[in-house]
Every structure is written in structure tokens, then in C-alpha cells.
Symmetry: C2
Amino acid sequence: MTLPIESVPNGTVTSAKGFSAGAVFAGIKTPGLDKRDIGLLYSERPCAVAGTFSQNSILSPTVTLSRSRVGVEKQVHAIVVNSGCANTAVGEHGILDAQEMTEIAATHLGVTAEQTLVCSTGVIGVEIPMALMREFIPQIEATEDGGEEFARAILTTDKRTKEIAVSFDVDGVTHTVGGVSKGSGMIHPNMATMLAFTTTDANVDPEFLQATLSAAVKLSFNQIDVDGDQSTNDTVTLMANGAAGGSKISGGDAASEAFAEAVLKVCQHLAIEIARDGEGATKLIEVTVDGAHSNDDALLASRECAASLLVKTAVYGRDPNWGRIFMAVGKAQIPLDESKIDCYVNDIQIVAEGKAISYNVQSVVSALGGDEVRLRVALNVGDGYGRAWGCDLTEEYVVFNSAYTT
Amino acid sequence: MTLPIESVPNGTVTSAKGFSAGAVFAGIKTPGLDKRDIGLLYSERPCAVAGTFSQNSILSPTVTLSRSRVGVEKQVHAIVVNSGCANTAVGEHGILDAQEMTEIAATHLGVTAEQTLVCSTGVIGVEIPMALMREFIPQIEATEDGGEEFARAILTTDKRTKEIAVSFDVDGVTHTVGGVSKGSGMIHPNMATMLAFTTTDANVDPEFLQATLSAAVKLSFNQIDVDGDQSTNDTVTLMANGAAGGSKISGGDAASEAFAEAVLKVCQHLAIEIARDGEGATKLIEVTVDGAHSNDDALLASRECAASLLVKTAVYGRDPNWGRIFMAVGKAQIPLDESKIDCYVNDIQIVAEGKAISYNVQSVVSALGGDEVRLRVALNVGDGYGRAWGCDLTEEYVVFNSAYTT
């Protein structure tokens, strides 16, 4: 039996029971309309916690510290996040400042620093302005409707907040999974970071929690691309506080399947919104590869395609240039048979059995002109399926990221 | 004893003794001033031959055919190349057309098709216009000073030819290594290809020939990046005809070392010229990583840095944004110690022991404004050394590759 997953209206990171959040503007980011730059996410009940972190060899100390506080034996109550300064490449101060940020937040909330995570995003190579942290973190009031404030506090040059929540019922108990994310914009002199914070009021076994998050991240955040670069600060967390009052979710039943599906829906939404809001982007590109030998092959090939500059620029130019799609899929070096490949733009077929076919050019150009473009590559050699999301590459990306402001 | 390597004035692919070349304009490319679109490279003496080819899962049949004719047991006399049409993704016709191109060239030159290689670059998904091949290949006159004509015949949207030759003496016998290449431009509706053809009049053992070429390609063509995409048609060949009259070169002596160094010099020059002439580029970026645990670590990290869009746009914007350099080096996921990293722009140090230091901003901005920018990352954890070359990313790249011309 599959349990239905429902969308939660105005869903956000505080939609799950027992989570509260708040934010403040401390002046770390350039001041502007309605900006926030420090956020707090809090659960009075202790939470099981799962996390995935940047694989970059150079990590922010905030990542190092938070990673050490996530695991099956750990419990957390809170996350403090600042935008505007990445706390990366600042020497021995970095870890001390990260620790102090969690101490300030923990004292304010009445929990321990070890139960508090920290994330930072912004300029690399600049120390965290700790005086501002000491002054402003204690001013943050975490409330049950503070999710949107928190969503704003983690943004850098994102154009909009990214929020969602979904729910499912198990034996009359409503379980909710919600989250927020921020994406890849740039604040001089630095790349920004991909952050996502998700929460649930389900009562989840810690090992199952991490396995579920890792599986969802593989099919969501790991399948998006804006510019091929990987931040030193990337973090995704999932906190489960059990406030819904349901039975333990630990895999192997319908409730666990619904939970995993809910987490995947939340992660995919938050990931797709990051791709859509990519720096300079005018449209979202969804690439589906099916008929591969394996799902992993299809995931890799779809990601190569979504990440290809030549595909990105072709879509921007409304050019049904399937030769670039072939090149990008082949770059994945997966087994395939060129003579079996079909290609589609939205639902219009443009390649059959590896060769060009005639199609209505104006229809395809029109499809490429929309806000969302779906590319599908059917390899027809197996059952492997994967999707990835990117955005187009425009002059605006170059202008934005080459603007000299030192 | 190290043998000195000398530059050959106006050196090209026919500088080595016994090689001739020629070209013709058949009308495959858009007509223009002085264009050529079919070229022939020929040696009357049979040549040992080495080659490296695209790793893309989707290959042009011209690559498949040529690869089957390269190896330690094989000998070749000629290469026929066309630009303007890639002969890729055209179904079963592709391999037949590639074979016929070698038959036409072989008949014209009085050799066999099996002794003839073929390369194509240009539009994917369009069949080779064989009537033009049948008419124009026999019109090509290969001459000893035809290298520059041949260099023009392989270009697509390159702005200039890429040619070089070097020589060294062994026991009074002058050995020459020369070559030409073409790079990554775009001809609608398709990515172009990286091709390089190198020649030598040295008498080289076939196994040593392939080992030498593979080692040189690793340190040259595999270390350049324009846009992260890999063509279906990439090919590098090295033909050795022994016309210099020297002793056999098979490794382990000063002559072999000089030969390997000469091949490396030729390949690095041709590779760097491709990076410099990248689509829309205004400058060459050379990235050196030293002090890594291994050369492979340094090669990977330098390539990640040269390929990073954020580094490319920062250099374009004359922005000494070392946070992006850190991110890109860390993306290689090599072992390093952040607190030991030093960074330099040209020779000006901007980072010491992983942290920002004060420097003369105007000097660095001025350095970044030159035609060539050298970035150096000293990891200070070992002796590993590697270099890579890229170009800046400009609005012009996006404009060029998104221009809608279907």
C-alpha cells in the first residue's frame, strides 16, 4: 500500500510540528530591502539528525564542526546560520569562531553547544565578525511561523526564497517533512554555497534517517548544476524530532516508504529551485535519460548533459542542437548503442535511432523558448532511469561573475 | 647528457624530412577568404604511427576507422582531413564514407587505404558530401612546403593556424619533430573538435613512439580546457618516417630523451595555442600547482583550476579572487593542508599559509589585465608538480554559442 503524499500550503522548514525559527539583520551582508543575515532553527525536542556535506578538500570549519555533531549517536536541537561570510580559509580562527557561534546560540536557546550545528555562506578569506554575532544572535526570536524569515536569512544573491513542505498520514497521525534551501549566486569576492535545511516531526530511526537523506540527496542536490563548481561550505541537514507522535519509522513498511518519498519530494523541489535560480539563468533545464543499462549510468549521463556549457548555451539560444546533447551524454563514458538513441525536446522527437529526423522547427524553437525546457534522451539499451536539472548559461552569468569590485 | 632542443623557424607539420602536405577548398565550410576544407598529409616512406583518441562513448566513424589503423604492427603513409562536417551520428553511412575517403586519398597518392588515416571536424548529424570528396581530394597537391595550407584546412572557427617544429642533433644527424593543431571553436550546429597532427623524421621504435606520444598528451592536450566539453572526434597522431637517417630511437638513451622532450615541446605548444584561441577568449591562463603529494595530484588540481568557470570569469574581470582558486583546487579532492597553501598571480604572492596577505592591488589587477595570466598554487606538502592551461570565459563565448542560426 502506498501512502499518498500531500502538499502543505505555504510549506516551509517550520511546517513540521515542534520546529521554530527566526532571523535578524546584523549587517554582515550589504544592507537592503528586508534582508536577514543570521538565522536560527530550533526544536525544543531533541532531534535525530542526518547530514551530507561538501566533498571539497578545502572545507569551512563550520562544515567540519557541524559534521562532527551529526551521526546516529548524536542529537541536536538547533542550527545557527549566517550569510555574507563563509568562515573559510581564515586560519586557526575559523574553528574557534564556529564553536563560539554555537555557544552563543546554545546559551540563548538553553541547550548545549554540542547540540547545535552551524553553517556559513559568503565571502571566503574573511573572518566572521564575531562582535556582530555576540550582539545579534541573542536578539533572534524563534517562532513557529518563522520559517520564511529563516529562508531569507540564508540567501546570498538568490532572487527568491526556496521553501516547501509535504505531509502523509500513518494510522491517523499526520507526519510532515519540510525544508528550505539557498543556491549558487555570487557575492564578491567569492562563490556562494548550496545549503538546505530540512525537518520532520516523524519519529525516525537515526540510521534510517541518514540512509533516507543520502538516497534523496543522490537524486536531487547531486543532480543539479549551475556552473560546475563545488563550494567549500555545501551542507544538507535533516532533523527529525518525533513531535508528530507517530510510531518509529525505521524502514521496511509503508510509513517508511512514504517518509522516504516525502524526503525525496522535498529535496528535489529545493534542488530544482536552486537550478532555476542559477546565476544569470533565464530557464530551468530538466534532462531525463532513460533506457540506460543502470540508474547510475542514467544519472551520470543526465548530469553531464545538464552541466554541459554547450547544451546550456544552445538552450539559451533556442537552438535544437542535438549534436551537443549526444556529445554530452557520450562524455559520461557509459555503455550505449548510438544507433538506438532517440532524443526529444519537451515531447517533440528530433532524433530517431541515432539520426536526425524531420520535425517542425518552429515548434521546437517555441518549446526551447519557455521557462522550463525538458530534454529526454532514450538510450533503449536497458531500464536505467535518471534525471538532472540545470539552467541556461547567459551573458549575465559572465557579467555578474566577472564584475570587478575589489 | 641532455641534447639541446632547437626551435625551427616557421616550423610546421612538413618541417620533418620526407613529409609533404596540401589542401583545397571544396565548399564544405562556408566560403571565405583563403579557406581550405580538405587537407592531405603524406610521407612517401612508410611511417610508424602512434595516436590518442576521444574517450567519448559516441565516436565519429572516422575516429573508429583511424584508431583501427594505428598500432605497433601498423604503418601509414597519409592522413586525409576535412573540416566543416564531423561525420558523426549519421548512421551506417558514416563508416562507409570514412572508408571511401581513405580509398580516394590512397588511390590519388598511390598507397593503400589501410595505410591511410582520416579525420573530420564540424557539424554533427550531417552526412559527408562525398561527391565533393570524390571531386576535390584528387586535386590536392602535396608539397614539402604545404604544411601551412594543411594547417588552414583543419580549422573551423579558430582565429589562426597553430604550427610548430623543433629539432635536435644526434651524432651529426638532425632530427625534427613538427605538428599542427586546431581547437575548440563552434560551427553551427555543433561543437568542433580538437585535432593535432605531428610528424618526425626520426627512426622510432613503434612501442616507444606510442609511449612517448601518450606521455606528452597527458602533459599537454589533456591539460587544457576551454569549456569542459569533449568532442566525439578528438584525435592526436604522431607519424615517424625515419627520413632523417638516424639510428633507431627506442628509449633509454640521450637521443630518446631528446626525442621525448621534443615531442612534449611540440604537443605543449599546440595545446597552449588551442587554449589561447578558445572561443571568445581574451587571454591565456596558465595554472601551476606545485608541492603536491604527487604529479598526478598536481596535474588534476591545476586542470580543475584552469577549467573552473568561476576562475575563468574572475580572471576575465581582473579580480584577484583567490577564494575561487582555493575552491577549484579543493574540488580535485587531493590530499592537502589548507594552512600551508601559498598563491601567486604572475609572481605576486596574494595568499600565505592559507590566509590573505596584503599586497599591491593595482599590481595584481594589472597582471590580470595581460594577455597571459599565470596562477601558481604552492601546496607545500610534497614534490608533485603539474601545469594546465585554459582561457577566460567572456560574454562572447555565450553569444557565439547561443547564436540561433538553425
